[in-house]
Amino acid sequence: MTDVTQDLPLAIEPPPPATSGLVGWLRANLFSSVFNSILTLLAAAFLAVTLPPVIRWALVDAVWSAPNSRACRGAGACWAFIHEKFRFILFGTYPYEQHWRPFVAVLIFLALILASCDRRLWGRRLVLLWLAGLVAVGVLMWGGIFGLSYVGNELWSGLPLTLILAVVGIAFAFPLAILLALGRRSRLPAVRTICVAYIELIRGVPLITVLFMASVMLPLFLPSGVTIDKLLRAQVALILFAAAYLAEVVRGGLQAIPRGQIEAADALGLGYWRRTRLIVLPQALALVIPPLVNTFIGTFKDTTLVIIIGLFDLLGTINASLNDANWRGTSVEAYVFAAAFYFCFCFFMSRYSQMLEREFNKGRRR
């Protein structure tokens, strides 16, 4: 008895294509098919054409210090402009020797924002922390007590102004938004109609018109003799605008609360306001935290529009410094710098909201 199979010559197979290591990775991710290979080559060609000139412009050929823009009219970026105007871009027309005050105010804002990202702090403590922080910022910026000289808010500009507009805007819009959302869900027809009309009206028009209205029409609305300054007008417009958008987000959360929760609260004998405060809102708001963060990002980006009614936020101080005759033709550098700042801020917040979303979904999927 012989083993038949032993005598059959086996065809020599080539080794299987690599599925691990660099080659395997390339094969799976870049060259998995003819079409993919073509796409990869096209993308690589695109990068090869665009990246080197950009890098050369931004880093290699860039001029880092020069007395004016004519001195750095080479091929590269004129970062000397940013170097020269740095203090003005950040703090604008705030008195020069007092710049440490807006600087500390900005640090306070950053610390508060970072603290808000820590979920262990969420609750009453965080609210108190924000109140204390806002008071401290107000004292620092206005001064007039503790030996600080008084600085009127018409001189506030640059980064602190951007942060104040965004933070105060959201802080005041949020409670208004909750009331609007509750009003929209109310069983009382008159209340519901007015809230729906407000929300849809504001969401139907661009922010610019609301800002124009605040800057041109608000003075007409007030009794003669009462004036409010430009900053407050813009702030009111931002609050009224953001509230309508936040209200829709909050409404989404309210709609997601099961009817049983409300019935249970009724069975416990809770009235409307206690039911809302203790049962409905805590659950509804927790549901919509990620979209709330996204709305916050939107509001933060929207603050740039205040320059159209003549305030100098970060983008405004950049525009103002571009008017310097010594630094003509540096707008691309200036806007790239501003873009980098806004990008860092918004990217951080959007990543944070994505993280929250993942964390919250983890619990719900179980």
Partner: protein, 393 residues
């Protein structure tokens, strides 16, 4: 001894009755809103009278006396304010309409690219989305405008990225086909093709329902829609005269010229909104579970039909509502034109307000126009949404 249940008449105060409380509360609320409203109106009337500003829309018939840089219809400073508003409105609709189409294309391509299994392509798409989504639109507009106005060369040294396309600090010029009567006939051919394709599709669907036989509607339709204009074009001797831009003196003549303002506005709107649309498309495709694709494969559907018949209809259901709000927000964002000097509705109205002082009327008009546009876009998208929505038995 029967236990006696004593029913005491419940005599609670009417304040405890939720219906009455509701009415009282509403009356108070409405009264408060009305009081606030009349307070504001009263102040406005008093203030306007004090500043001697006429009210009403009478100013619309007066001569505008300001120029408008670009206009789709004939306009001169001697025309009325009403005409100026119309010019602004048309400019807004033009840039918004073009922006919506281009942003949809860019966003869809980028959304699909982000889902690609090709690492390089998906990373490139992701970089685009993450970068431009996180930079305020106004800043992007300033950037593009600055790039076109300051960094772009004089017309004499204009960049020429494609043959006969010139980019200079006066804007972008590109060649357009010279007008020719044949193009009208080609458009007619296109219309006939579209109508015929719709008819064939209806007939093919009925035949398939009756007999089960399929008909290559897609190919025949494509042939008709592209073929008819092409046949007209070839039969009439293929007139291919292009109106090419040429440098004459200090600027280009001929071709179609786009101002830096318009180019910057369109570029900014498309690139910014495209990022949001990309995310919406990606989320929509991901929302269709993989089981649906597997079921389609089990039925033996080829990839194209699988995409068209199974995945896309379900993805569209998720995509359309957020897409509507992106279209609306693009239209509203086009009002940022005022910051870079493109004469859109807000920009024209702003000039009119500054000249006449009639802020209330001007702002009311802008708001009414945007509200109308918003309502029309959402109504159209709602109709479309109803067509693709889940039909439940």
């Amino acid at each position: 001894m029967a236990t006696e249940i004593i029913r005491r008449p419940t005599r609670s105060s009417p304040w405890r009755n939720p219906a009455i409380r509701g009415i009282v509360f509403q009356v108070l609320f409405v009264a408060a809103v009305l009081a606030l409203g009349s307070f504001l109106v009263h102040n406005t009337v008093v203030n306007l009278r004090r500043q001697n500003i006429a009210s009403g829309f009478g100013f619309l018939d007066r001569e505008a006396a300001f120029g408008i840089g670009e206009s789709l219809i004939a306009y001169s400073p001697a025309d009325t304010y009403a005409r100026a508003f119309l010019v602004g409105l048309l400019n807004t609709l033009y840039v918004a309409g073009l922006g919506i189409v281009l942003a949809t294309i860019l966003g869809t391509v980028m959304g699909i690219a982000r889902l690609s299994r090709n690492w390089l392509i998906s990373k490139l798409a992701q970089t685009y989305v993450e970068t431009f989504r996180n930079i305020p639109l106004l800043l992007q507009l300033f950037f593009w405008w600055g790039l076109l106005r300051e960094s772009a060369p004089q017309p004499r040294q204009a960049w020429e990225p494609l043959p006969d396309v010139f980019v200079s600090n006066r804007g972008i010029v590109f060649p357009v086909p010279s007008p020719d009567p044949v193009y009208g006939w080609m458009a007619l051919g296109l219309g006939v093709g579209v109508v015929a394709t719709i008819g064939i599709a209806r007939w093919a669907r009925q035949r398939q329902a009756r007999t089960g036989q399929q008909f290559p509607t897609g190919w025949v339709g494509l042939g008709l829609i592209l073929g008819l204009p092409l046949v007209v074009f070839l039969v009439s001797g293929a007139p291919l005269a292009l109106d090419r831009p040429e440098l004459k003196g200090f600027n280009f003549l001929g071709g179609h010229a786009v101002s830096p303002e318009f180019a910057a506005l369109l570029l900014g709107l498309v690139i910014y909104t495209g990022t949001f649309i990309a995310e919406i498309v990606r989320a929509g495709i991901l929302a269709v579970s993989w089981g649906q694709s597997e079921a389609a494969m089990a039925l033996g559907l080829k990839p194209g039909r699988r995409m068209r018949l199974i995945v896309l209809p379900q993805a569209l259901r998720v995509i359309i509502p957020p897409m509507t709000s992106q279209y609306l927000s693009l239209t509203k964002s086009s009002s940022l034109a005022v910051a870079i000097g493109y004469p859109d509705l807000v920009s024209v109205a702003n000039t009119a307000i500054n000249q006449t002082g009639q802020a209330v009327e001007g702002i009311t008009m802008i708001m009414a126009v945007y509200l109308t546009i918003s309502l029309i876009i959402s109504a159209l998208m709602n109709i479309y949404n109803r067509a693709v929505a889940l039909v439940e038995r």
